[in-house]
Amino acid sequence: MKFYFPDSQDLVSPTYDFINDEYLPTRVRQRDDVYAHEVAKPSPYDGILVSKAIVDGSMKGSGKYAAPQRARLYRLGVRKFFRLPESMSSLGDCGAFNYVDEEHPPYTVDEVLDFYEECDFDAGVSIDHVIFGYMPGAGESDVDDAWVKRRHISLELAEKFYAAVQERDSAVEPVGAAQGWSPASYADSVARLQNIGYRRIALGGMVPLKTHEILACLEEISPLLLPDTQLHLLGITRVDSMERFADHGVTSFDSTSAFRQAFMDDRNNYHTADGAYTAVRVPQVDGNPALKRAILSGAVSQRDAIAAERNCLAALRDYDKDNVDLDEVMAALAVYETLVLGSTPTKKSYLAHYRRTLEARPWKSCPCALCKEHGIEIAIFRGTERNKRRGFHNLTVLEAKMRTLAT
């Protein structure tokens, strides 16, 4: 099973100073920074997925790339730009979720193939249009006309895309995108894509589906698969069900969820082989909007806040070196949490979760290079450098789980 990591310009700075919380003043974003595959050992994914909408921007606004970076990606190609090792592959797509509100996808087939070719992708997904809904038993006459239309748009564009790849004798491997709202409609899309000639098919629009619904679709699809057809699940992880997905012809998937949980999830920030821990929140005094407002209004003294923040960091680091005991750390965390939550007493306390994390010290036993290098810093919820490193760690945990499945 191959795992692709969707690019969203997620990098960390190798020269970041954790003690003073600052960057080298001369740091150049992206170029001096490193990707997960450059810093997390073992390498946490088999390839990257890059969306045209992220690079070039879309209706919803500008992309994640500054103009000079975009120019350099086009100039150097995806392998050099991302500094991908030989063993990794690259997959391009359009980023259908970015134009999900449009009536029609905003790109032409030629534009998209230009993007794939100029950036030198190994493979590229045909233009698709996401259907937002699942009605397992419904036929074409039972569902919203827009759903029917979107499935046809996706198939039509897939046919044109395949033809363009053939006509240009393109080096990009074509991947057909299948859309649907039910097992039968997905299965029909897959069958048609195979007829066009696709032997690699990506199933789109399944992110909101429950695992049993995804399985129902796969069960309908897999009897139709030609022996050499491979399936890709767009945006899906569901590690627990991966084995069953694989039984139905799925050979690859992509997802950001393990990464994003490091700083988006309420609780499960630090993943381990058999569970997850809550990261210890020590927000920066000048980076926390609520605290900043409280200081500006005079409700909290800036000096007190800075002292409490420093005490937390010092206590956590000392605890990691066994110089102070857990209760001392918890006391420091409690003082700071009270200051931070002060103006919004409705917010709940995390202290019990922190205790669990600190007691277990999961970073001590983690084999990944990041935990080895940064120790307890990786379990601290604070700023992008720590949070993204924890996300990279989560990716290595996911990779290890996938590896045990494969054997």
């Binding site: 020269t15 003043p25 740091r27 970076q69 120019a71 350099r72 005079g298």
Partner: protein, 373 residues
Amino acid sequence: MADRYTLRLPALEVRQGRRRIYCFAVDGKKLHSFAAVSRIRRDDGEQLHGYQRPEVLSHIRGIRKYLESDGAMLPNAIVVAFNDRIEFVPSLMIPTDTVDYSVPGELVIEVDESLSEAEKPAWLVDGQQRSAAIRDADLAEFPVAVVGFKADSEEEQRSQFILVNSTKALPKGLIHELLPDTTGQLPDSYVRRRLPAQLMTRLNGSRRSPFYRIIASPTAPNGYIKDNSVLKMVEHSLFEGALYQYRNPVDGSGDVERMLTHLIGFWSVVREVFPEEWSKPPRNSRLTHGVGIQSLGFVMDTLTEDVPAEGVKTVELKEALESLKPHVAWTSGTWKFSDGEERRWNNLQNTPNDVRQLTSHLLKVLRKRSRRR
């Protein structure tokens, strides 16, 4: 009690009209024991108290790092406003033939560390960030020069605060010229600019450089290319383009000599191909205008991304730039862009949009040519 004591500081009382100011030195670590930092806030009655913004932590960190560096110095005096609880005692033995506007003596400050901020005998008017940096610095002591005055009211302190904090920033051109020849810790934004400024200064000062003395700067008053145009081009190439290859990401330094060779290699070909256009000021030539310098900078990055400095100036490069000739309108005529848009030669401005449009026009011409070959 340990937290109540008297500070006696040698001081000079200076007369300014009806006012008296006091110049003295004190260990910056002790400053906060008698001087409060008043922050702007409103009380329950919406009455304004204090006059200062909160500490800017990143700024303080910068100063702190500087203070901890070797040979640090803070020559500017910190300014405080006293209430009437301080006392100046003139020296008993003052020579009679001295000037009458300054009197040596001793400033007596009663320190009570248990007092709240609002009750302290002095308030910081200027130097809040510096004094916080001294407080935080990993140093045993750091004596600073202080100027104090007795203020009649909080309103007066506030107006002093605005006066001392509204001085004009140094002109940018002067900073760019000074930057390469500075040492020691500087604010981050300057550290980032130092290498580009150094390259620009060298381009302007080397005889073999096509930019020799034509970049306008305080010491090259006849220059006609804007320093900012060149600086932006260099910065861009350094961060995103061809010059990055000579950069050391671990400390932000770079191989200046090879960068210079690279830049001189490319731009001397530009001058060879467009000699007329290169010799005219921006109002008569879009080549020496910001839009031309930057667009050609992007062309340099595209054509020489992986080329080592010594191999930049080649016949191939000259042929590539010559192929642009039928498609440019640096000094007259019209630009004909591939989307059908036509612009008079001098209609292009130094805006991100126009730079982008011109760059993609030039790159398209070059791409077509390389495909044809």
